[in-house]
Amino acid sequence: MTGSPLLSLRDVEVTFTTEAGSLPAARGVSFDVHPGETVAIVGESGSGKSTTAAAVIGLLAENGAVTRGQILFDGQDLAALPHSATSRLRGSDIGMVPQDPMSNLNPVMRVGDQIVEALEDNGVARGAAARRRAVELLEEAGLPDAERRARQYPHEFSGGMRQRALIAMGLSCRPRLLIADEPTSALDVTVQRVILDRLDELTAELGTAVLLITHDLGLAAERASRIVVMYGGEVVETGPALELLRDPQHEYTQRLLAAAPSLASRRIQLAKVTGLAAVAARDLLSVSHGDGVDAATEGAGGTRTDSIIEVSGVSKVFQLRGKGLFSRTEAFTAVDDVSFVIPRGRTVAIVGESGSGKSTVARMMLDLIPPTSGSITFNGERVGGANRAAEVRFRRQVQPIFQDPYASLDPLYSIYRTIEEPLRAHDFGTAAQRRERVHELMDDVALSPTLLRRYPAELSGGQRQRVAIARALALNPDLVVCDEAVSALDVIVQSQILRLLADLQSRLGLSYLFISHDLAVVRQIADHVCVMQDGRIVEQGTADDVFDQPQTPYTQMLLDAIPGAGLELGVAS
């Protein structure tokens, strides 16, 4: 930490010129990155964290510019340099690992050639030497069989492999500073951990300083020595990672700390070890933890019959088109012999990585696709295959909430029309009664009725998700299927929505099927957990059992992948 910093931002302001006039995206941003140090910028979307990173590497969008302050890299002001000079620094002195590995590799160029291009362009190596070096770099990034892989195209790579290739590319010219913008947020949790570990090892070996951009405070605390918290374009707090976690000064940091699911699940874990049940209860939102009595009666009463939905031996086989022109279709088993039960008024979570079949289960539960075999029984009645009247009855009682609040509302419908639609479709009361119900629903999800005349495009992500919840609740359903319902939201909004869901559950006696890839979120909301892998449920039990005594190595691996697992947080406070 001594000596002069490698990168130093001094009162930096970045302004974008838009239709609506000039818009400052970052103001008065100042922080230092010393050689070999990892610094994390934490903030929600729109906080200016990515803009700041883009300003450092000189890749601001065309309508953006550094309008004030200095960006000193090794004593040289990048903001004052001409474009050609910053582009020379890029790649050779400052490397970058972008967020989305799917769109950041050229799909028509071999992966090896793309690294060779980076090497040759920066004058590190040429020809055969560059090709040898590219293979070495891929190996170094942890890609097995690198020789063969270098000759493949990006579509032959998985997400994790692509991200390794991008890390190899980012580090190809041995930059002194590496900017990693949400490097793993598009990847599965277990892959995330492995990739970040490899990135850590590599940069430590090479002495590369890292500027890590992330929305996850837990992840930042685990990986960085210092954290910069940004909010609304400004730096609200800077400090050593652990100090900032234990003693956050700014109100926003405190809220972020309370909201981050990764930290919450760690707090629950620590509280259990130390026996502070009351502390854990602050972060646990599930009903069975809400009041201790309930949990006790469940064990004794043996109310096995009171389950709202029973899934037994359900499988789903998709027919995929064969490889050859005339070859037959191939069967792909997305869901394999899955059985579970949702007790009335409880939350059952299904966790799994992408491709585990959890969303297919959700679609079958909603009767959007039929199961190939097995049966789903809702309130004693078999789902699907029945007459239209039974289907309409079922639809009234089971409602979905989807992941992306930007896609789940019809952009042409005003909020009022969106929430009223289910009421109208099921002939609920008169126009005046419907209006009253819509207002009641807005009240339930804590939205101001002034929003009713707005359109989805005019609402924030959190507001839209509340509208989606209001719409789902309109017909007083018994079961709500939440398919990654909070995954697309910023942490603070995420925790607000989770608390809203928990609150609605205890007030209205709702049952939830909660589909998620995020174990930390599941830890907070679920009573029962089913872990899915490759279409099968590999483990299921109460949330406490699954999280405290995982029975399978796969579950253990998922648990280990929650960022911040080893952090020593001040729980007792």
């Binding site: 309409v392 989807f402 042409l412 029309r417 479709a425 209006r435 939205l447 005349r453 707005r454 719409r471």
Partner: protein
């Protein structure tokens, strides 16, 4: 500091005046309202809209604006085999080969172009939307059947189709309208189908199905309205193409009529022989075609930009 301003929920029913259940729509900014607002700020859109407006007004008011009737040849006596009189007080843009007033003919020509352009685009739009809706709403074998039919239509060259139609029903403006309209059908069909398929995969459509709405309601009140944007943009751009194609086909004589017919393409064709004597006879109708097409294109492109969700950041 709140990231989510919904926390403040002053819940009073007085905010929405009673008896206005569905009029609530007039306050928020829907997609189309936002698009209008953006159009008004785009100079390209304004220029395009002005050109289109002038063109439409001239076409509609031709009987008032034009000094002479469409087929009249007021200056017949002044034409010599080697001489065509230029602009004068009586004929502001001069006469043509047959003694017709050029200004009057250009004005009447606007009417012919507008009629052909709009009618043919309506044929293309209706036919294409019907096919696209069939394919996009039902999918499966209906989709396959419809799209093969569309492929078949695309495989016939438009000129060949026009000549065949003219051969069957005779050379007339009707042949041109049908030929241009039919050629547009597959374009609209594909566009609407693609747009509907993209919308059908979105969560709000799944949510609508989960509400227990019938398939017809989901398609007609959610999928279709959200799929219309690109179709409307394409229709605006198609008007430009139709005006040019109409001129092209009547240049080739497929539109029939006498040599004196007031139609821009026809006038261009007639002007060929006089290119050295009176170039304005070719230049002016050509300019009219170009400017009209430019107007529709400018407006269509601006509309596309205004509706593009990628640029719809306020």
């Amino acid at each position: 500091m709140t990231g989510d301003p919904s926390a403040q929920s002053a819940l009073t029913d007085t905010v929405v005046p009673s008896g206005r259940t569905n009029k609530a729509d007039d306050v928020g900014a829907s997609q189309w309202r936002v698009a209008m607002r953006r159009l008004r700020r785009n100079p390209g859109a304004i220029i395009g809209a002005v050109i289109v407006l002038v063109f439409v007004l001239v076409a509609l008011l031709a009987p008032v604006l034009a000094p002479f009737p469409a087929e009249a040849l007021p200056g017949r006596a002044e034409i010599r085999p080697t001489f065509i009189p230029g602009p004068s007080d009586a004929y502001p843009l001069g006469l043509d080969r047959y003694g017709g007033d050029l200004l009057s003919k250009l004005i009447w020509g606007a009417r012919a172009s507008l009629l052909i352009g709009v009618l043919s685009t309506v044929i293309g739009l209706l036919g294409g939307m019907l096919l696209g809706l069939l394919a996009g709403a039902f999918g499966g074998w209906i989709d396959t059947a419809v799209m093969r039919l569309v492929d078949l239509m695309l495989s016939v060259p438009s000129l060949l189709l026009a000549v065949s139609i003219a051969a069957v029903i005779g050379q007339s403006p009707r042949a041109i309208v049908i030929a241009i309209g039919v050629v547009q059908i597959p374009i609209f069909a594909r566009l609407l189908r693609g747009s509907m398929l993209a919308q059908r995969g979105l969560d709000y459509v799944l949510a609508a199905s989960s509400l227990g709405l019938s398939r017809r309601t989901v398609t007609m009140s959610h999928v279709l309205p959200n799929s219309l944007g690109p179709v409307i943009v394409q229709a605006t751009l198609m008007l430009a193409t139709a005006v040019i194609e109409a001129a092209g086909l009547s240049f080739l004589g497929l539109g029939g009529g006498a040599p004196t017919t007031a139609e821009w393409g026809r006038m261009l064709a007639q002007a060929q022989n006089e290119l050295e004597v009176a170039p304005r006879l070719a230049f002016l109708p050509g300019a009219c075609i170009a400017i009209t097409a430019l107007g529709f294109t400018l407006f269509g492109e601006a509309l596309r930009e205004a509706l593009d969700p990628k640029t719809r950041k306020r």
